[in-house]
Symmetry: C2
Subunit: 725 residues, 2 copies
Amino acid sequence: MKKLILLFLVAAILFAQSNHPNLILTKKDVHVLRENWEKYPLIKKSFEAAKEKVDNALASPIDVPIPKDAAAYTHEKHKQNYNEMQLAGIVYQVTQEKKYAEFIKQMLMKYADLYPTLGKHPAAASNSPGRLFWQSLNETVWLVNTTQAYDCIYDYLTAAERKKIEENIFRKMVDFLLTERVHEFDLLHNHGTWMVAAVGMAGYVMGDIDLVEKSLYGSKKDKKYGFLKQIETLFSPDGYYTEGAYYVRYALAPFFLFAEAINNNQPELKIYLFRDQLLKKGFYGAMELTYTNGAFIPINDAIKEKNYLSPELITSLNLTYKHYGKDDSILGIAKRQDGVMLNEAGVLVAEAISKTEKFENYNYKSIEFTDGANGDEGGIALIRNGSHKDQSLLVMKYTSHGLSHGHYDKLSFCFYDNGNEILQDYGSSRFINVEQKWGGRYLPENKSWAMQSIAHNTISVDEKCQFEGKINLAEQFHSDRHFFELSKGVQIVSAKDEHAFPGVKMQRTMAVIKDKLLPKPIVVDVFKVDSDKEHQYDLPFYYMGHLIGTNINYLNYEKELKPMGSANGYQHLWKQAEGNGTGVFQFTWLNEDRFYTITSSADSSTKIYFTRIGASDPKFNLRNDAGIMLRKKAASNVFATVIEPHGVYDGVREFTAGSFGQIENVTVLASNSEDSAVRIVGKNGIDWTLLINNGKASADEKHSISVGEKKYDWTGNYKLVKNKD
Amino acid sequence: MKKLILLFLVAAILFAQSNHPNLILTKKDVHVLRENWEKYPLIKKSFEAAKEKVDNALASPIDVPIPKDAAAYTHEKHKQNYNEMQLAGIVYQVTQEKKYAEFIKQMLMKYADLYPTLGKHPAAASNSPGRLFWQSLNETVWLVNTTQAYDCIYDYLTAAERKKIEENIFRKMVDFLLTERVHEFDLLHNHGTWMVAAVGMAGYVMGDIDLVEKSLYGSKKDKKYGFLKQIETLFSPDGYYTEGAYYVRYALAPFFLFAEAINNNQPELKIYLFRDQLLKKGFYGAMELTYTNGAFIPINDAIKEKNYLSPELITSLNLTYKHYGKDDSILGIAKRQDGVMLNEAGVLVAEAISKTEKFENYNYKSIEFTDGANGDEGGIALIRNGSHKDQSLLVMKYTSHGLSHGHYDKLSFCFYDNGNEILQDYGSSRFINVEQKWGGRYLPENKSWAMQSIAHNTISVDEKCQFEGKINLAEQFHSDRHFFELSKGVQIVSAKDEHAFPGVKMQRTMAVIKDKLLPKPIVVDVFKVDSDKEHQYDLPFYYMGHLIGTNINYLNYEKELKPMGSANGYQHLWKQAEGNGTGVFQFTWLNEDRFYTITSSADSSTKIYFTRIGASDPKFNLRNDAGIMLRKKAASNVFATVIEPHGVYDGVREFTAGSFGQIENVTVLASNSEDSAVRIVGKNGIDWTLLINNGKASADEKHSISVGEKKYDWTGNYKLVKNKD
């Protein structure tokens, strides 16, 4: 049976060989492109832009430099080369003008001369060096693009030319990847995806079934690794990519490109249907992990500028549109991307856009994603409120670690409102491709600060990092989802973690409450920590904006600043001021034209610190953003906090209103292993009690908690009691 | 003769009395409005918005609260009341529906009951307290608006009602202003303008020629003060308003409103032609003092959010359009203002907009304004380059002090590029109308930091402030313009100051050089200081963005920060790091998607400091922005610096190019009392020498300076020698 399939595959490949191009661009694509590229503005613009870029390239001397740097000329030139070759291939197929094929041929010949002479890249510093590039990742991206160009001029080349190109470049590169970099090839990680896509596409284009099989099933073809295993394990069943939003954006490109190549060459594999249409879920999962401004939620290592206009997402959006039922709700994003793929998928999107009069905004909704291959390794909740134009978004993270780019941020959150980051996730510390900043790589402060627990809006215990900051520990555990429930007035999520700090059980519950008494919904944050021993619990809030006022007195270190600590990220925080709670701690800041107030239960033994990022930063790599931190020494504690948007500051009209919030007090009425009760009191008659199930999650179990003489009874995971109702 | 004029005036006023409304809205305006408000979208929208606001007001109970606060309910309510009355008057005139007149009458009756009972405002903290408001400024704005409302319902009221309103409110308010606040009435300052406008408009509406004359000619009618004197002295002949851009925006409203009232009641005064059409020049002067994003250059006290969309500018733009020849180049701004005046001027603008298909951008140009009533008190230069979409703007300031809101910033500059502030003027320290921030007033740090010399991109001597930070000294002097010349390749300004620091002569020359060897023009800054004695010269650059790299080694105070000094603003600067020049000092930062590099001649005795604003700031009032500072101890020195925009950082595409600039070295070849020669060397064959005349400015005088064996000869104030030409 296996042999039979193999024979069939060989036959299919042989057929493909005589049928170039057939990798990403097929003969049908070429036909559709030729017929339609002038018809619809966006495909016309995309094709003309490609042609202009290629024509410019043709007018310049070809340069295939000896690799030297990681973020400067030679790096950028080799990137430029593969881009130009890939586009030239398409332009050649559409126009049939030989000069384009000749350009690719000449360039490939130079690579064919250069590549065999290369050893390890001179600027290689990572543990995965390449030859053309400082890291093999870029090498695989080069191959993914160059195989497409080669595919397009396959029939233009003589057999001898093909032989030279295949032997001197593709074979050598693939051998390098499958021997020296085989660990990465068999890695369940975005680098691995790029690598199997590259090798697989080389396999298809050279008609080498062995390479294709290794790509699909792992270097040993035992199905433990490879493309299919990656789809099975890197995504949860509902489409959350384990590395988070920034890297799914990157990973979707090879996932979709290789899927398209597979679909064109082995349609019988039904790759787009694989795992219950997982690639579709992966694309929409990535979209859900953006804010309304298009920015990806910067959990784990992430460049904050990155948004859904990123070119990698054109590929996945266009192929999703083509293969998954022409969803017009994504056309608004496609229009803003202002470019399409140069194939049938791109034509379909461009045609649909040309026929659309009014584009809908992407229909964001509150949603929870599970993490893990089986969906049982925690998750991430996104709770939204309001129209696309002024939407708040609360993100709470209780996933697994998320591989090498994961941060130690269990039970952290970030909050967006009014188009802006309000309580931030720092993202990564990196100036991508900026040579002066460590060659554009991740900076040392990425590890010493950005990954650390204290860099996140979650609790750090005893000034330590979760899992001691060790990835091999962190990779073994995940947080546990407790419950996630949506109703009209209350949207609530709760999760637990008992591994991040051994001996400390943590549970965070965050509720977004919408009520007619409030102009904007508020966030109620109840963070419960329990231990047998006394610990120091630090809960920071990294607010974006300018401090407006606070209700406490504080000592301001206005003449001398020192760091908050000496390790685990604390060395990077300047201690600007400190004070103590007075039963309640209130703190207001201004972000653009709106005020925000944090109101937190804080007795007089609760320390409040005002911090600023930037200490122990010898090369000025960090952003100097502000934060506040609540510190409590206790065995167990419940931090109860309300985050409240309010008022307006209009600097153009010099109009200010509502610079004080309505919420006046937050108190923990009672809390035990089964339940918690938190009271929220404010102006205009706000007097609410939020009841939370701390025990086993269940929608129909009865609960009861006593507060003094009063007893609250309810059924289910939570109840919001409006006392004045 | 005088008596004859008086008689004529009285007659005119009496005529006006029987001819209400005739203040800002005339019978002709009413007619034009009625005929046209539905015809053109913008006037329709503006009228409907006014009517909706007034209808909402009519549906709510009238509240005329007892004055209490400076930025909270009672303050905002009295502002709301005068706005609603002013609009209701117009709506009444257009619709003739009595309910609108009745609304104004009822509200005025409440004011007529309240006002006589008021003494000094309880929250008054300034030296110019009001009664309804904490400062009399707001009181005059109330009067300017309320007289318009009264004018509109004058004929609706009975004689007895008019008597009560005039006696209890207008007479009392005017008496208060003309007695207790007469110092302010006779002040050549924007507060004075609001006050004479208010009293003059009360005079017109009550038919009181005496009040009008006092407003026009000063409280003693001796023409030493009053509206005409203000026009003569607060503006330079070319239209620069002495307080700067932020306050001209505010002052233009009473200037134009009162001018319109004068024009309607005493057209024979030809107020719009007064002083060679000065009000027109004032309006365009304000426009020229904005960047392409519409923001006013924040010299002196200024809120940075303020831009030309500010409602006060609708008035001056609309009246400029009507009275000064219907300039269509300002219609684009009018369209973005998205509102027009409700009178004939507004109809004209709305009509023109409705007939415009493509709006031109405002046609910014490089321009110099003189300062002072006679144009001989220094000036300000604005040098622009590039299209509206990506324009650089260099502003160099060498004005007089600019009254009470002036900053001690002689020879300072700021620089804009790519739509952003690149080297900033801090503006003022104030959160306008935010109660928590000192009641919304100017903060203490406005004086201790924002006004100080060290807060600006200019030289501070011996850690002192210019003029010892004393306004009575500063008001006596001004800098002197040296030359300002524009050519295609070089735009250059030079100015001198010898009063700011007694015993130190300062000359700053800034040239913007455009050349095909550079992707963007560079700024060359040559700052020459001369003294008999040794001094410490500090030249800071407050850059906006993130530090990318520098060529010098530095000691980073990464574990402990202390202030740069203890007084004159230095107490507000954290000393983050320090190093020494190495012949040349280079420093690169990233702002949004573009890099900027400062290259400065700095020998090993030149100290370089890396600073951050925010020390000695007990209430967190300051923004924590960064700066660098060059410090040189010498009797005389020339600081020569190039500011160079370069490269691109695209976080969405993860593409970076040109993160290093081209300029490599700047050297002062020679400098004496007559001339300076500065050499600029960079990649791609850049080797230029800028020759500057330090002596008496002259376009045709011959100059000569020797550099080693080489002798440069030229004619005029400067020459740029391209050595490789």
